[in-house]
Amino acid sequence: MKILGMDSSGLVASVAIMEDNVLLAEYTTDYKKTHSQTLLPMLDELKNMIELDMSTIDAIAIAAGPGSFTGLRIGSATAKGLGLALKKPLIEVPTLEGLAWNLWGSDRLICPIMDARRGQVYTGVYEFVAEQETFVMKAVMEQDACDIKALIEKLNAMGRPVIFLGDGVPVYQNLIRDLLQVSFSFAPAGNNRQRAASVAALGAVYFAQGKVVDARDHQPEYLRKSQAEQEQDEKVKAAESAQ
C-alpha cells in the first residue's frame, strides 16, 4: 500500500511517499519560488532518489484546502493529472487536519491557524482520543474561516490548554498572548508547518475508511467565494435590506 502525499496550500511545498507504516521519502521546502516550479521537480528528485516506479502508487493524498487559492490549484491539478494518468484515486485531506496530525498523540487541544488576511484565519480545533494502541483524531471545531478574535474567544470558552501551529502564528502570536486566557504553546520548526508525511499518513486512515474520490471529481475546498461573488452577494443583501 503506497501513498503519495502532497501539500502546496501555503508557502510550504511538500511531497512524501509512504509505504504501509514506513515513510520512504519526504521533501519539504519553504522558499519564495512558486509551487509551479517546486512541487513537481521535488517529486521528480524524490522519485529518482528512491527509484520509485510511479505505477506502484495506490493513491494520491492531497491537502485539499483551505489555503492559498493558487497554491491549492497547483497541488490539485498536479494530483488530478497524476490520478488521470496512473488511473489511481485521490484522497482529499482537509489542510487543517493534515497540520493537526503533525502533533499526533498530544493531550492538548491542537489549533492550526493559517493566515487568511483581513484579520481572519483558516482554522480548526482538534484533539487526540486514546484508543487501543493508537489515537483517533477528532474535530472539536471543524475547519473554517473565522476572525482570529472570535477563535480566541472560543478557545477561552473551551478552557483547555492548546498548542498553536501554522503560518498564522507569526502574524497573530501577540494577539494570542494578549487575549488568550488558557495555557498555550507554539509548536517548533519541523512540526509547525504543512508536511506531506502527515497528509499521507492521515490519507492512509481515510483510505482505510474508503474515503477516496475519482481524480476527475476532485476540486479544492476554498472555504471562501471569489471576491467578485462576495461583492455580488453583498449587493444582493443590500438591495434586499433596502426594500
Binding site: 509551479s36 490549484r73 498536479t78 488521470l84
Partner: protein, 339 residues
Amino acid sequence: MKQADDVLILAIESSCDETAAAVVKNGREILSNEIYTQIALHTQFGGVVPEIASRKHIEKINQVIEKALEDAEVTLQDIDGIAVTYGPGLVGALLVGVAEAKAISFATGIPLVGVHHISGHISANYIEHPDLEPPFVCLVASGGHSHLVVVKDYGEYEIIGRTRDDAAGEAFDKVARAIGLGYPGGPKIDKLAKEGNPDAISFPRAKVAENEYDFSFSGLKSAVLNYLNSCQMKGEEVNQADVAASFQKAVIDVLVEHSLHAVKAFGFNKFAIAGGVASNSSLRAAFEKECAKRKITFYHPSPIYCTDNAAMIGVAGYYEYQKGVRHGYDLNAVPNLQL
C-alpha cells in the same frame, strides 16, 4: 487509427475562460477538439473573473481531457507529446493546464512541450488549409491581442505591428457594454451591425505616428462614448444598430488597411487572420473583398478554431515537438509571455 510513424499530440489550453483539450495527428489532422466554455458563468459579471475561471478549470479539466482522448479513440499510450499553453493569459487559469499537463507528462514519461497561445491562434490556419505554409503575414485579433505578425517559419514570428492601447476585441466589448448589449461584445455587435448603416456616423480611424503597422483603438472607443453622451445631452435617440455598424466599420477599415499594406510592403502574397475577432463576419467579408482586389490569397480558420481551443495548441505544439523543443517539470505559467 494510429500508424507507426504518426505523431499524436495531446493538447491542453486553459489561458482564459475555455477549458479545452484536443488530439492532433501529424500537425494537421484534428482527431478531437473538446471545449468547455464558461462564457455564461462570466456574463453576469460583465467580463471574465479570473478566480472564477480558475476554479472552473480545475473542476472540468479531467473530464475535458478524457473526452478528447475518447473522441479521438486513443489512450495516453498512443500519445507522443503533450502540448500546453503556458502564456500569455490569466496566470491562475494558465497554471491549471500547466500543472495538469506536467503531471500527466511526469506520470507517463510523454515529453512536454509548452506552447505560446498566439502561436496557437496563428497555427489554427494550418488545420483547414493543407496548402498553407510559411512565410505569410497574419493578423491576430482577439479580446486580449491585436498583433500583425510575419510568420517566417513554423513557430518563428516577427511582430511588425501591435496595439498601443486596447485590443480590438476589448474595444468591441467596451462599446457593446456602452450601448447596452452586454458581454461578450464581439458576436453581439457583429449581429446588430447587420441592421445598421456603417456610414451613418463618422468615427475616427487612428494612425500611429511612429509605426504605420501599429493600432490604437482607445480613441475610437472614446469617440463612441462621446457620441452616446452628446446624444443623451441633446435628448436625441441613439440608433444602436447604426452605432454598432459605424464603430465596427471603423475597426475593420484600420485592420484591413494596416494588414494589407504590410503584406505588400514585405513582399508576400499570402495573408491569414486568427483569434476571436477573426470570426467576425463583416471583417471576413472585408478581407475577402480587399484581398481578391489585390491578388492576395486570404486564409481564415472556421469560427470553432478562432475561439480559444486546444486543437490550435496541438498544431503549434506538433511543430515545436518536431523541432525538438521540450520543457521540464519546472515549466511555469507566464502571463505576459512574448511571442
